[in-house]
């Protein structure tokens, strides 16, 4: 792979497990995917599937109080991040890679003004005067559509609505024009109207500064709206990936299929929804075989015995399922619970 | 007349040389140095500084540097003229003629005259406790000239000189200028103007009392002896600080922040001895211990019950608990120390320190004690007394008393002891006096019908009083000795309180303190500081 078509972010075989429970399945287990320049990649999956852990691993932002072991490789612009020192990571954070979080209500420091929180980032990463920093802060607030930005600088977070706070978060993330923006469920806690606003802001900005976005969500609607490609995670593993259109229209993995059909559809009203049985496995469950197996309607014996390998296809598609392999075809039907 | 009296500052423990206070005295080695300051750490706060109005001995200790008496006790415990130049008994001893020293100046520059003595005396007579003893026999004060005057009595009044010189329990007559007396009348004095080697600077209650050297002081031309004789102020300033915490008093002397600390722990004597920075000073005679009865209420309004206690008590155990080391306490059945003219070694014979549990039980039976718990009431702030109370309880219970030890705070205790309306709130109180200066008469204010704390009011009290009365009017010393034995006998047969033992006080001096003389009341004239 030449310098030119090198991926902006490339994660390969990432494993994260928490030392507090070493005997259990790792929270993230052999995850690999990449993000290209200017691309928006969505990661979808149910709660607990390891999306946030993956995202936090990129910037090594895991809670300090819990020790964890990370292995694999995370390359950003070709540089390995996992071996970087804390100091070098600080240079990267907020500067080249920015991150916004799920809960806008609690992600801003309640005791500091918006202005100081914004200017702090600029002063940290760029050598500018106070005045310039201020001007930049105002500019970025205007960019994300906050009216009267100048006067907002002296506001405290609690004086803003949820949507405004999330916009401030975005403004903060974009201050240093990062190459990659990681958004961990940025709209989940927000009302539909505000969610739409935020998505529009993100799209707008992406066009403007050509940043790549890694969008973590559990809502296929968001993915459909904003992403170019999508990665589906289940129980710490990537189970499917591909172009958004391909995955949504033609899901390969039974989990993706189940998820999509569980969503109340616009279209003809249905009496009952399709549903996936059971719930996501606990870390100590289903450690052998395919971890989706207990909930899968099309499982066979092989699924319980052996973990399927991740298979990559044309057009950046991939799936982790026995279906469509010879082993599956020859295997007998698994015992149904 | 008291030639035979041996030195008063004698150690009770000459047999054990290492505990001898003599050995530890910072002897007057080297030349005196002028200047500097002595800080004295006091264990408590004097209630007020009016020497006529308070009985706190600390007040007296300090103000003896400011005020002086007509007479002062010398090393042989004989009251010798001090501000007085000479004296003479006249008129069948009913008149005491005194001639003052001339040219003695008060700190305000005024010269001492008979008028000042008159004013001071009359105030003393009116408000001081000892004045109360004198008053019934006093006739009038007669000024003869600027430096001469007469005290006139209705009867011969033998102990007068001793009383007005006695610095125990603040009986001493201290001479103040007339103006001062007139200004304050019977109110508490807030200024102090005396004739002593140090003058009063200021007093911040609970904090410190400061005195400074009086430049124009003219010492008497006599060798120092006891409280009498030449007083020279070497240091410029004396500061008496209230330091209630024992550890701090000691620590302060060790670090030379204080040069002297009153009343430190006898138990730590050995430690102090080995400390090169300090000199322990065993002050003896220190305290005279008693068990005071409440004679106004059963069971101790009955002599048999008192006898039961007398025979129940084990003095050695009590003394060990209260004082510790046997070097620091000794038996004494008499009112006065062995060695003084009044000492009566035969007093209490057959009854003093004769623990006999069977006899005690017999007496108790005879007394008709009904088993109501008796209350030993004491101030829990006084470690010696509270420890003693606990030991006493155990001893009394052995013979069949039921005992309730009540250790309360000082204010409550003194109130209950004195309260005439609540006579039955206590039965026994452990007390101790600073050993009084020689004359049995001082005891008259405590032992007698309804005096001090005892609520005593029966024929035994009257007999006791009569014994004192006789002593009072007898001026012939030899007859007085005989009469004092009479008093002792009366005391032991009526047991108004139980004589326990005498014990030493322990003070601590800095090694830099020089010229200090161990006396029952510490004083700081003729003393200097040498920091070499």
């Amino acid at each position: 792979m030449s310098e030119l078509d090198q991926h902006l972010l490339e994660i390969s075989d990432l494993n994260v497990s928490f030392d507090s429970r070493p005997s259990l399945a790792p929270a993230v287990n052999g995850v690999s995917f990449f993000v290209d320049k200017g691309e928006t990649v969505g990661i979808v999956g149910e709660s607990g599937s390891g999306k946030s852990v993956t995202a936090l691993s990129i910037l090594k932002l895991h809670a300090q109080s819990v020790s964890q072991s990370i292995s694999g490789s995370i390359r950003f612009n070709g540089e390995e991040l996992l071996t970087k020192s804390e100091k070098d990571m600080s240079m990267l954070r907020g500067n080249h890679v920015a991150m916004i979080f799920q809960e806008p209500m609690s992600s801003l420091n309640p005791a500091m003004t918006i202005g100081s929180q914004l200017m702090e980032v600029i002063k940290l990463h760029q050598k500018v005067s106070k005045k310039e920093a201020k001007a930049k802060a105002v500019e970025s607030l205007t960019l994300v559509g906050i009216p009267a930005a100048q006067s907002r600088l002296s506001s405290y977070p609690f004086q803003l609505s949820g949507g405004q706070r999330q916009r401030v978060m975005i403004a903060m993330a974009l201050l240093c024009e990062p190459q990659l923006l990681i958004a961990d469920e940025p709209t989940t806690a927000l009302d539909v109207t505000i969610q739409a606003q935020i998505l529009d802001v993100l799209k707008d900005l992406k066009d403007r500064i050509h940043a790549s976005i890694l969008m973590i969500t559990h809502d296929f609607g968001v993915v459909a709206d904003i992403a170019d490609r999508v990665v589906v995670m289940y129980a710490g593993k990537v189970v499917e990936e591909g172009k958004v259109r391909d995955v949504l229209k033609n899901p390969l993995h039974p989990y993706t299929q189940g998820l999509l059909s569980s969503i109340p559809q616009i279209g003809p009203f249905k009496e009952r929804l399709h549903m996936i049985r059971g719930s996501i496995p606990k870390p100590d469950e289903c450690l052998t075989g395919c971890r989706f197996c207990p909930r899968c309607d099309s499982k066979r014996e092989i699924c319980e015995q052996q973990e399927p390998a991740y298979r990559l296809f044309e057009g950046q598609r991939g799936t982790r399922c026995w279906i469509g392999t010879d082993e599956y075809d020859t295997s007998t039907k698994g015992r149904l619970p | 007349s008291s030639n035979e009296a041996p030195e008063a500052s004698q150690s009770p423990s000459q047999e054990s040389s290492d505990a001898s206070p003599k050995a530890s005295e910072p002897a007057a080695k080297g030349e005196p140095i002028n200047g500097g300051k002595i800080v004295i750490a006091w264990p408590a706060n004097p209630a007020n500084l009016d020497p006529d109005l308070t009985t706190t001995s600390l007040t007296n200790d300090a103000l003896s540097h400011v005020y002086e008496g007509l007479f002062e006790f010398d090393g042989k415990e004989e009251p010798v003229p001090y501000l007085a130049k000479s004296y003479e008994y006249r008129d069948d001893s009913k008149t005491l003629y005194i001639k003052l020293r001339e040219g003695v100046k008060f700190h305000n520059g005024k010269e001492l005259t008979s008028e000042d003595v008159e004013a001071s005396f009359l105030r003393w007579l009116d408000v001081n406790d000892a004045g109360g003893i004198v008053e019934p026999y006093f006739d009038k004060f007669e000024i003869i000239s600027k430096y001469e005057f007469n005290f006139k009595f209705t009867k011969p009044f033998a102990p007068f000189r001793s009383i007005i010189a006695s610095n125990s329990a603040n009986q001493k007559l201290l001479i103040k200028p007339k103006e001062l007396v007139e200004k304050y009348g019977n109110e508490v004095l807030l200024e102090h103007i005396g004739t002593g080697p140090y003058e009063f600077v200021d007093w911040v209650p609970d904090r410190s009392l400061r005195l400074k050297k009086y430049k124009d002081y003219v010492p008497v031309d006599q060798e120092p002896s006891g409280y009498s004789g030449r007083r020279i102020a070497y240091v410029d300033e004396l500061e008496f600080k209230s330091v209630p915490e024992l550890a701090v008093r000691v620590a302060g002397v060790q670090t030379n922040e204080f040069q002297f600390a009153n009343d430190v722990s006898l138990d730590q004597y050995a430690n102090y001895k080995t400390d090169k920075n300090v000199v322990p000073i065993v002050s003896t005679p220190g305290f005279q211990g008693i068990l005071a009865f409440n004679l106004g209420t059963p069971p101790f309004n009955n002599l048999d019950a008192r006898n039961a206690v007398q025979y129940a008590v084990n003095l050695e155990e009590l003394a060990t608990a209260m004082v510790g080391n046997a070097d620091f306490w000794h038996y004494n059945p008499s009112f006065f120390e062995e060695g003084t003219i009044w000492y009566d070694g035969n007093a209490g014979e057959g009854i003093y320190k004769q623990q006999d549990l069977n006899k005690a039980k017999e007496y108790l039976q005879k007394s008709g004690y009904n088993g109501t718990p008796i209350v030993i009431l004491n101030d829990r702030g006084n470690k010696q007394h509270s420890d003693g109370a606990i030991v006493l309880k155990a001893q009394l219970e052995q013979v069949g008393f039921k005992v309730d030890v009540q250790l309360l705070d000082g204010a409550t205790v003194s109130k209950q002891l004195a309260d005439k309306n609540q006579v039955s709130s206590w039965n026994i109180n452990l007390a101790s006096f600073k050993v009084p200066k020689p004359d049995p008469q001082v005891y008259a204010s405590w032992l007698g019908t309804d005096k001090w704390i005892s609520h005593w009011d029966d024929e035994l009290a009257v007999k006791m009083e009569t014994a004192f009365e006789k002593l009072l009017v007898e001026t012939d010393q030899t007859k007085r000795y005989a009469l004092s034995k009479e008093v002792n006998k009366e005391f032991w047969s009526s047991l108004p309180w139980i004589r326990t033992f005498d014990y030493a006080r322990l003070h601590l001096a800095q090694k830099s303190l020089k010229g200090f003389v161990n006396y029952s009341t510490p004083f700081y004239w003729n003393v200097w500081v040498d920091n070499q």
Partner: protein
């Protein structure tokens, strides 16, 4: 896994220390060879030895026995104060937190009482009522009720608005039931923390009261009283105050561990998963 074990370790160590001293106190007569009140004046101020494990005090009493019995008195005071404070202060806090009616008035009064320094209150009341275990308990209870009530009140108020209370109400629960089954368990950790604090404070306050001369009635031993008495002998017989001091430190430490452990243990969310 290890986290779980560690948390239990606190509970165990704390409980061990406390149980050890409780047993020592309860069964003091079995452990001790000497009567704590028995005077042996001749043997005063002896250093620790085989005969007297922790030496003797100024009246020749065995310090080890006195500590056992003193722990009894101190722990009794601590427990009684904690019990009374928790019951009275807790009830008060529940009532004013839950019903809010008398809240503003009672809170005011509690403020007023908190404003009184507890020591001055204790000293004056002890002077008024006299010394003795019972009065110390009353005094300290009186002094700690306001803070307990306030803590409970605050936690009741914060719990009261939670959804599950409403859910209980929808299920038909009456106020009394809500208070005992819903509110009280939620206040438990606050109460435990405060009770731990009270216990420690009570033991120490007893010591301070002894220092000021209004502690437990002599000659009954108490840890605080022993430290206070022993301080005059620091130079010659340091064990007199060091030994009871160590016991207090251990008890308070154990109690803190126990309190923390208990709090975590009672929290179902933190229970072993």
């Amino acid at each position: 896994m290890t986290k779980v074990k560690k948390k239990h370790a606190y509970l165990f160590i704390g409980a061990f220390i406390i149980i050890f001293f409780v047993l020592l106190a309860l069964f003091a007569p079995w452990f001790t060879r000497f009567d704590p009140l028995a005077l042996a004046v001749k043997e005063r101020l002896q250093a620790p030895s085989a005969k007297h494990l922790l030496g003797t005090d100024a009246l020749g009493r065995d310090v080890f026995s006195r500590i056992c019995y003193g722990a009894r008195a101190s722990m009794f005071i601590g427990l009684a104060v904690v019990f009374l404070t928790t019951v009275l202060g807790g009830t008060l806090g529940l009532v004013i937190g839950f019903y809010r009616i008398a809240d503003s008035i009672i809170s005011r009064i509690l403020d007023g009482l908190m404003a009184f320094p507890e020591i001055i209150l204790a000293v004056t009341l002890a002077a008024l009522w006299g010394a003795g275990i019972k009065n110390i308990i009353y005094v300290l209870t009186f002094a700690y009720i306001p803070s307990m009530a306030r803590v409970v009140r605050a936690s009741v108020i914060s719990v009261k608005s939670l959804e599950y209370i409403e859910s209980g109400r929808a299920a038909g629960a009456r106020n009394i039931y809500l208070i005992f089954r819903y509110i009280l368990p939620a206040c438990r950790s606050a109460i435990i923390v405060q009770a731990t604090f009270c216990f420690a404070a009570a033991i120490l306050a007893e010591a301070s009261l002894s220092f000021l001369g209004v502690g437990i009635k002599e000659p009954t031993p108490s840890l605080g009283g022993m430290i206070s008495e022993g301080r005059d002998y620091l130079g010659v017989a340091s064990w007199l105050s060091v030994a009871p001091g160590t016991v207090i430190v251990l008890v308070v430490l154990g109690l803190n561990l126990l309190g923390d452990g208990l709090r975590d243990h009672l929290d179902p969310k933190l229970k072993t998963r």
